[in-house]
């Protein structure tokens, strides 16, 4: 089966959701995303990191270098208060969109 692309505009939402649970580094985020999406979404760093950096610059995430479990150094991203608010907004919007689309698909 061909690979699925991450739908336009949802990557931010998913990143924020993942980080809402616990701070994580980039690799971890990409792994978690693959697992949670039932192995459908495989995001490569070329797409993931630009979003991470953008979210960080916009103040939604905060990054700091920390040692990993294997004692490597990695950059961990954490959700900020503003990030949480953004997550809420994104989630609400997504709910509305999916509700609307589902309504059309089922009602037509």
């Amino acid at each position: 089966m061909e690979k699925l692309d991450v739908p336009q505009g949802t990557l931010d939402l998913m990143i924020l959701t993942i980080l809402a649970r616990e701070p994580m580094h980039g690799y971890g985020i990409s792994q978690r995303l693959a697992v949670l999406s039932h192995d459908e979404f495989h995001v490569n760093p070329g797409s993931l990191f630009p979003s991470l950096y953008r979210l960080e610059e916009d103040g939604k995430l905060k990054a700091e270098w920390r040692p990993t479990e294997n004692n490597r150094r990695a950059k961990y991203y954490k959700l900020t208060a503003s990030g949480r608010r953004q997550l809420e907004r994104h989630r609400e919007r997504w709910n509305r969109v999916s509700f609307a689309v589902t309504g059309v698909l089922e009602g037509a």
Binding site: P45, G46, F49, P50, E57, A74
Partner: protein, 898 residues
């Protein structure tokens, strides 16, 4: 996201660039490590794991690139890279870049120069307070048909009293003065006598000392003067002791009360030159500046019939030129009724601005037109060059876009390239403007007002930057046109598609034809002016100016009584002066011949009415005779030929029979078929006998016909101003000290002035003509070079475009001539059409030059023919290289490239 926030993150990014880069690197490394670690734990060997991890990532560099692009400050980095890239492009084709930059520099330099001149001379407001309300109040003479006449003092007083629409009147009068400070050498200067309101009207303030007191304008007070800064520096070395110093002005004691700025006499030259009479020193030399200012002292007792002052006035608030003109015309009519001296005298109001700037409009308009034409040509060339290069670069652009470059990015890159080129062109452009303006300051004719203040200042530099920016912007849009046109089919094609070539190629051809036309027009104008100048220079003046020195003397009336009309015997001091001077001067080394004359050969002198005694047609009422008083050495000094009879000699000076030598013009007019020798004439209250006929001297200027004249011995027709002419065997200027000594020995209070080689007096009046011609010739040369570059460009492009065609034909056996015909056809059409259009335009527009042309018709076929031939030669030269390139095409290689 707020603007502030965005700015802050940009600043942060700039500040932390390096660290951010390192961070990014580390982060990617960590990512790769972790991915590899996972694979290793799945059982793959470490190296293999790493490789797979990197592969799966899709390329670390690309990832980094995309991250960089996503950052807020990224675009700055990109622009930096674009600039770097642009510079590399420019370096890659140095010849092309050089041509573009040179053309740009020319365009910017010309724009700046033109703007600099316009601003200094025309655009800046005149330095008078309320300039627009300042008027010349000329009188007019209906009988003589003149409209710029001086007025008399009583007239001035009457106008002042009776006018409401003019709130203030002033009067000026120009003259020459001899100044002597203590025992120093006397100095001859130009003087301006002004009424009490003139300083206020013109806004003249003293820079040292004070202005005149109101009582100093009353007759009977001690004489006071104001001197110019120039004179202050020259005579007093700017010492404050000059204020209050006494000196002799025209032999009378006076006191200096103040100093005025050098620029205080702004406009005086132009006003005096416009006047029909009372021009004073302005006639002598357009470069004369006022060095001494005197208060006008005249009361009602002054004669009403003597018109010696020029009136200026300022409009009252609420009055207009028309209303003041009407009012003053009424006053003039009243005066006409009351006084016989005012018969046929009217009034004419002219804004001072028009008088000062009027003579300058035509040459400036002409030059501005020339500059604009060259500018347009330069811009067209730039457009053509850049379009042509854009077309040849489409391959490169297509490849880059195929590799994934965004279109917006490409456009931005090309835009930045063009901006860079314009920027690089702006600096030499400013330099060119600087040099040009300096040259203009040095060589421009002096009577153009304020030309000496032309230079680079803030506004000129601003114009340079603005024009560079405008050009950059306009040219920057060109690649837009090309990429859009080609975008759809471009990526697929691997050579410039014919379709786009043809349509833009036609536009290109039309533009180049227009360039050729412009070049023809400018060349024709320059050619006509040059021919005219050549003609003027080759007019036979009737006398020989080589190695002749001229100097002038002013004889103060206090010591030299010179009755007008030769009936009374002249002052013995006068006769002693002429005799003594000639004798001494002849003994100086290197002197071949010496003469004194009332007027030097380029001085129009005066005319008087006369009558013929005995048979012969009497002169009509207006026909007058020019009288030239000379010493006998004159004919030899000036090498004027004697046609019949004999020249004047020493015995004529003393003889009771007054001898006169007439010129050929006189004989042609009044003694057409009769022997003029021994005929008698009556003028200057005396009877004269003609003893000889001399060749014509063009003392009215090279462009006017020589008038009828009679030469008489100087002591029989004395004149308060004398010209010395000295023929030397070496450098005429070397004789000057000896002459000064000779004059000083006879009369130490006389000051020699206007000392110059007569050759210079001859050529100075053509200063403006020379200046214009030089500039126009320069423009023509620029236009020709630009047109040649344009033709070259068109042909180069045609060759590139038609290479496949040529290759095929060559492979099929076409010979040189056929290939050339294929390639040159378009160029020939373009050049031919341009030349024909240019000739047509030139013939139409050269009429505007007719006032400047001497003995050359505006449609002179020789000039036009020469221009066309010259252009053909240049076009042929321009097509040489591309044509050779066409002939050297290797057909197989070209076809293989398809």
């Amino acid at each position: 996201m707020t603007l502030l926030h965005r700015l802050a993150s940009i600043v942060r990014w700039i500040v932390r660039r390096h660290r951010a880069e390192r961070d990014l690197n580390d982060e990617m490394e960590a990512f790769v490590d972790m991915a590899a670690a996972d694979r290793t734990s799945d059982g793959a060997p470490p190296a293999e794991a790493r490789r797979l991890a990197v592969l799966r990532l899709g390329g670390v560099e690309q990832a980094k690139e995309r991250v960089r692009a996503a950052r807020h400050g990224a675009w700055l980095d990109e622009i930096g890279r674009d600039v770097h890239c642009g510079l590399r492009q420019i370096r890659r084709d140095p010849a092309f870049s050089a041509i573009v930059i040179a053309t740009l520099a020319l365009a910017i330099g010309l724009t700046c120069s033109m703007f600099g001149v316009l601003q200094a001379v025309v655009l800046r407001p005149l330095p008078f307070p309320a300039t627009k309300r300042l008027m010349m109040v000329w009188q007019t003479d209906r009988n003589a048909g003149t409209s710029r006449e001086p007025a008399s003092i009583p007239d001035l007083l009457d106008f002042t009293e009776r006018s409401q629409h003019i709130e203030r009147f002033g009067a000026v009068s120009a003259s020459d003065a001899t100044l002597q400070v203590a025992a120093a050498d006397p100095v001859h200067v130009a003087a301006l006598t002004v009424s009490s309101s003139v300083f206020g009207l013109l806004g003249v303030e003293p820079v040292a000392g004070r202005s005149f007191d109101p009582r100093e304008y009353r007759p009977g007070e001690g004489q006071v003067v104001l001197i110019s800064e120039r004179l202050w520096t020259r005579l007093f070395r700017r010492e404050p002791s000059a204020i209050g110093a006494s000196l002799r002005v025209n032999e009378r004691p006076a006191v200096i009360v103040g100093v005025v700025a050098d620029a205080a006499d702004f406009g005086v030259q132009q006003v005096l030159s416009s006047a029909a009479y009372a021009r004073g020193f302005a006639d002598r030399d357009a470069r004369t500046r006022v060095d001494v200012w005197l208060p006008l002292r005249a009361g009602r007792g002054a004669p009403r019939g003597f018109h010696g002052v020029l009136m200026i006035g300022r409009l009252a608030p609420g009055a207009t030129r028309a209303s003041a003109q009407a009012e003053l015309a009424r006053v003039a009519a009243d005066l006409e009724r009351m006084y016989p001296e005012n018969s046929a005298r009217g009034v004419f109001l002219e804004p001072i601005e028009d008088v000062v700037l009027g003579p300058v409009w035509t040459p400036i308009a002409l030059l501005t037109a020339g500059v604009i034409l060259v500018l347009l040509t330069a811009c067209v060339n730039l457009a053509i060059l850049l379009l042509a290069r854009g077309t040849t670069r489409t391959n490169e652009i297509a490849v880059r876009m195929a590799l994934g470059a965004e279109r917006r990015r490409m456009l931005r890159q090309l835009f930045i390239e063009n901006v860079l080129v314009s920027g690089i062109g702006a600096a030499p452009g400013l330099l060119l403007a600087y040099g040009t303006l300096n040259a203009i300051r040095a060589f421009a004719p002096a009577h153009i007002p304020r030309i000496a203040s032309v230079g680079i200042d803030f506004s000129v530099a601003l114009v340079a930057l603005v024009s560079a920016a405008v050009i950059a912007f306009a040219l920057g849009l060109l690649p837009l046109a090309q990429i859009r046109v080609g975008a759809s089919g471009l990526v697929l094609a691997d050579r410039p598609s014919r379709g786009t070539g043809v349509s833009s190629g036609r536009l290109r051809s039309v533009l180049v034809a227009a360039e050729v036309a412009v070049a023809v027009v400018l060349l024709t104008g320059a050619g006509l002016l040059t021919r005219s100048l050549w003609r003027i220079y080759h007019v036979d003046p009737g006398f020989d100016v080589t190695r002749v020195l001229k100097a002038e003397l002013q004889l103060p009336p206090t010591r030299y009584q010179l009755p007008f009309g030769a009936s009374a015997a002249p002052d013995s001091s006068f006769t002693r002066l002429i005799g003594g001077f000639v004798e001494r001067a002849e003994r100086l080394p290197d002197v071949q011949a010496v003469a004194l004359a009332a007027h030097h050969p380029l001085d129009a002198g005066f005319t008087t009415s006369f009558a013929l005694v005995g048979a012969g047609s009497q002169p009509a009422n207006e026909e007058e005779l020019s009288v030239r008083g000379i010493t006998p050495g004159y004919f030899e000094t000036m090498r004027v030929s004697i046609v019949t009879g004999r020249p004047l000699n020493d015995s004529d000076l003393a003889s009771s029979v007054r001898a006169a030598v007439v010129n050929e013009a006189f004989v042609d007019q009044f003694f057409p078929n009769v022997d003029p020798i021994d005929r008698r004439l009556q003028f200057l209250r005396s009877e004269w006998t003609v003893v000889g006929v001399a060749g014509n001297e063009r003392f009215h200027g090279m462009t006017s016909a020589p008038p009828a004249a009679a030469y008489v011995p100087l002591n029989h027709a004395p004149w308060p101003r004398l010209a010395m002419v000295v023929r030397t065997s070496g450098d005429p200027s070397a004789v000057v000290p000896g002459l000064r000594r000779a004059v000083g020995e006879i009369d130490p209070t006389l000051a020699m002035f206007a000392v110059e080689p007569l050759e210079q007096t001859l050529t100075t009046p053509f200063g403006q003509h020379r200046f214009l011609t030089t500039l126009l010739a320069l423009f023509a040369i620029f236009a020709v070079i630009l047109a040649a570059v344009g033709v070259y460009g068109v042909l180069s492009y045609t060759v590139v475009q038609k290479t496949p065609d040529i290759a095929v034909r060559m492979a099929l056996g076409a010979d040189t001539r056929q290939v050339l015909r294929l390639v040159l056809r378009e160029t020939t059409v373009v050049t031919g059409a341009g030349a024909i259009a240019g000739v047509g335009l030139a013939l139409l527009s050269s009429r505007s030059l007719s006032s400047l042309l001497f003995e050359v018709t505006p449609t002179d076929p020789v000039t036009v023919g020469a221009v066309v031939i010259f252009l053909i030669m240049i076009a042929a030269a321009a097509t040489w290289i591309p044509a050779r390139r066409a002939l050297n095409i290797d057909p197989l290689a070209a076809l293989r490239r398809q």
